[in-house]
Amino acid sequence: MVTRRALLELLLAGPAASLLDGSRLASAVDATPLKFTELYGQVGPLGLRFSDKAQGLRGHPVSMRGFLAPPLKPDARLFVLSARPVALCPFCQSDADWPHDIVVVFPRAAGEVRLTPSAEPLEVTGTLELGSRTDDATGFVSQVRLVDARGRAV
């Protein structure tokens, strides 16, 4: 059973010691909580519109809770955070299958990245970026990003 895995590796940061870094903890405390349902003010087949709240938090630290999907490629430096665990589609290997409201996470530490089970929701804190951006390494196009991010289990 994987669920009660002991606490919850620090997921996006590097060495565990960095947890004790006071300044990082402070930034996590300052972060404004943002829910997936608060990202978009208007949703429709012809596109989504960012909510006033999300627009107001652009460039500021926010924290979001969701489920972290496995990396797109073994060495990818970006991760996908989604409102629900992504398991419905049979061919999820491709970015064609992601739901529209995903958030792409660029971790703070450049070193090895460890994953906790995505069965457990995570809280990811990072600077909110909005607007289309194509990742050079993977070609992955994202609309919402948390950069310089770190995470913790909740």
């Binding site: 059973m1 895995r5 949703v43 429709g44 419905l88 196009v141 609309q143």
Partner: protein, 580 residues
């Protein structure tokens, strides 16, 4: 590639049985090809070969004599250190048997094709229904839930049952006994077998997904040869394999951006479903495109009415000037009927105005029947598969009932006219079976002790179906016990998933190992089941059993016994007289 040794080669081919060689010929051995249909002819040679050593013959002659053109010799294929011969858009117009031989001077590969004609046109319209992944148990459970059964006798039949012709369909593809929705749909839409993940092509050895040898779709044939209208209606993303199979040519079904372009190039008259994300330029939030193309604007610019809600769709269909309709109702897959109509789970809150598949079919028939040359309509109830993968059989069965209601609409249309062939089938199976019932009142602590088998199963106590054919609730005290033959690690809850579609397994600390989703762990009476498929699978998989085809209308009499999935194409093009 001329034929200095043609006679000898033909002799060798006749005398020496074909041995395993690395030379590959597309179309494959035993291909059946509609006379006059376009196909790419490709010979993959083993290694880099001197073109002077290469001999290719068609019925003993140079290929250009029958295929009309000379194949191009490619010294080194891109990404492959080997030579090949390629001839795009070949055709054979005379029915008969064709023997194709290819030699590199050392080994010879021989394949045989059968080219068939069709005779005169007998049907004005064809409507093909695909219940994606719809297996026998889905149909039986849909009949039980929708029509009711007592003392062994049903109180009614499904619309797809009450059809005069039925056959078993074999679903395997070129590469595997187990098929996916891409190559199985390709078989229906092109008459050629393909491989897992491939659409409208034979999967070749080069890494480029868009250069594989193509075969012509029924969409292209119907439009090119007779000027028919074509409709593609689904409740999945329109780029998903089954709808894409109507127009696409790619080795990789996830080439969604390119598939949207292929839909645009095809100019199918009606295209409806989810998947708008790949129509929107990447600058628009919600887009999944990798470029700045705005395909909604492009479709609009070529005369399509655009609908994004049920009402817009109905209004567009009711307007007699609408002859082209693009309906995009969701950025991703639409929601199934259980969530839309009853539970309001899934993404219904975000997309509250999605139409029902039944109304999509009504709208599509209205628009398409404005074309005096007739129409080909493909309708997919695609979430039967999407829900069967995560073992959520209740949602899959409710969408089977929805498919059946849509079939009833098509049958009503066909009954009024006797010029429309209606076919209902699946593209592959899932491994589910009806085992008995689960009785909450039965003694026993563990839920498995409350499974009634044989006479103890009795009958489930679902309420009688509503006017639309759905039971008002699935959460009854004695319900069907349906289990899947293949599964990842998961918690069996023995209950319908009322809080949203089932997610049986999720990635563990090692993403290659999927673990039982702990969210269901604490439900009363759950049982953890150790998976029986590879650990990186988070859902169940397709299975290899035959699927059922039922049919009515002109040409349906050919539906009998066992058929290959490629025969379904042949039945449709024969009814429409699309051969030369």
């Amino acid at each position: 590639m001329r034929r200095p040794l043609a006679a000898l080669v033909a002799l060798l081919a006749a005398v020496v049985p074909t041995v395993v060689t690395a030379t590959t010929i597309y179309p494959i051995d035993r291909a059946q090809i509609l006379a006059g249909s376009r196909f790419d002819f490709k010979v993959e040679l083993d290694g880099v070969v001197n073109p002077a050593a290469v001999t290719v013959t068609v019925n003993g002659d140079a290929p250009e004599k029958l295929l009309g053109q000379t194949p191009q010799f490619v010294d080194r294929e891109k990404g492959v250190d080997a030579s090949a011969l390629i001839l795009r858009d070949a055709r054979l117009t005379t029915p008969g048997r064709y023997v194709i031989s290819a030699s590199d001077g050392k080994t010879t590969k021989t394949v045989t094709w059968t080219v068939y004609g069709t005779g005169p046109r007998r049907a004005k319209n064809v409507i093909l229904f695909i219940g994606d992944g719809m297996s026998v148990a889905h149909r039986t459970a849909a009949r039980i839930l929708s029509k009711g059964i007592t003392e062994g006798k049903y109180h009614g039949l499904l619309a797809m049952d009450a059809m005069p012709h039925m056959a078993l369909i074999g679903t395997s593809g070129v590469d595997s006994v187990i098929t996916d929705s891409a190559n199985s749909m390709s078989a229906y839409t092109t008459g050629h077998k393909s491989s897992v993940n491939a659409l409208g092509v034979y999967a070749d050895r080069t890494p480029d997904t868009l250069d594989d040898p193509r075969v012509e779709t029924i969409t292209s044939l119907a439009k090119r040869k007779v000027g028919m209208a074509v409709g593609v209606v689904t409740n999945t993303e329109v780029e998903d394999a089954t709808p894409a199979g109507m127009v696409a040519h790619t080795r990789r079904r996830s080439d969604y951006d390119q598939i949207v372009e292929m839909f645009y190039d095809s100019q199918v008259e009606v295209l409806m479903g989810g998947g708008s994300a790949n129509f929107l330029p990447k600058s628009v939030p919600g887009s999944r495109r990798k470029d700045d193309q705005d395909y909604v604007a492009k479709f609009r610019g070529t005369g399509y009415r655009i609908a994004t809600t049920d009402k817009e769709m109905q209004d567009a269909a009711a307007d007699t000037t609408t002859t082209r309709l693009l309906g995009l109702f969701h950025t991703g897959n639409m929601d199934g009927v259980l969530d839309r109509k009853f539970l309001h789970k899934g993404t219904v809150e975000q997309f509250p105005e999605q139409p029902d598949l039944v109304d999509q079919v009504r709208a599509a028939i209205s628009v398409l029947s404005r074309n005096p040359q007739g129409f080909v309509l493909m309708v997919e109830s695609g979430l039967i598969d999407k829900y069967s993968h995560p073992l959520d059989w209740e949602r899959a069965v409710m969408d089977t009932i929805m498919l059946d209601r849509a079939v009833a609409v098509a049958k009503d249309f066909a009954m009024q006219r006797d010029d429309t062939l209606v076919l209902v089938t699946a593209d592959h199976s899932h491994g589910l079976s009806i085992v008995g019932t689960v009785d909450d009142q039965a003694p026993g602590e563990a839920m498995r002790d409350r499974i009634g088998v044989y006479e103890k199963a009795q009958y489930p106590n679902y309420p009688a179906a509503d006017i639309d054919g759905y039971p008002a609730t699935l959460d009854v005290s004695r319900r069907l016990a349906i289990f899947f033959a293949d599964f990842p690690d998961y918690y069996e809850t023995f209950r319908p998933k009322l809080d949203g579609p089932f997610v049986p397994a999720v990635a563990g600390s090692d993403p290659k190992v999927q673990v039982a989703n702990p969210r269901y762990q604490s439900q009363p009476g759950v049982m953890r089941r150790e998976g029986n498929i590879p650990r990186d699978s988070n859902v169940g998989v397709h299975t290899g059993e035959d699927v059922i085809l039922t049919a009515v209308g002109p040409g349906a009499e050919r539906v009998a016994g066992f058929l290959d999935n490629t025969d379904v194409f042949r039945i449709m093009v024969e009814a429409l007289g699309l051969g030369d």
